[in-house]
Symmetry: C2
Subunit: 115 residues, 2 copies
């Protein structure tokens, strides 16, 4: 992505990760998943077309990198770049907010919310 | 909104505010705007139909409240609820992230990023 709506850092962040799925995939990467098939097993049940689209956009945005882990058929593993990993504090605040205001949400592991 | 994709606090937060516009409006409310016409003047140039839709959804989600400030024609002012205001720390992390990783983004006023 090269053009943002404004130089506002909030609008710009939303231009990059402001949709319902990108940060769900990022959560999975932060908690140890790395393969296409693993993302599909998450409870939100992302569809294959959305998953493929978001992985491609996340790589183009510099949030993730991929490398082959198998040749026939070719399969890639995904991992966060420093830029992607740096979104962790934002996800931490999302957890705090939902845990406080939305009844029934899971409390994340202490290791995830610890600063 | 009543049904979420999962009990994950990240997915749930995204179900509520995970789009490109809701948090731009919330930023404007946090920085002192309250009227429909004021939101339209922001540099992201939100359209009237998206603005009306998001304000309605934000009110339904409990993030904002509205009250009339003029009768003929009827005009409403919007303000954040405690639940809406509590998203501020998340926006602060978005600012830090974009300021660090996306060249050219504005540095927000100290009053906005101070804990």
């Amino acid at each position: 992505m090269t053009a943002y709506r404004s130089p506002c850092p909030i609008a710009t962040t939303l231009d990059i990760v402001g949709d319902r799925w990108t940060l769900v995939i990022l959560r999975d990467l932060l908690t140890g998943k790395s393969r296409y098939s693993e993302f599909l097993t998450s409870p939100e049940r992302i569809t294959t077309n959305i998953l493929a689209d978001r992985l491609e956009k996340m790589e183009a945005a510099g949030l993730i990198e991929r490398s082959p882990y198998q040749q026939r058929p070719l399969r890639h593993a995904y991992r966060l770049t420093d830029m992607g990993r740096a979104l962790h504090p934002m996800l931490r605040e999302m957890c705090r907010w939902a845990n406080r205001y939305v009844p029934g949400t899971w409390t994340p592991p202490e290791s995830f919310v610890r600063e």
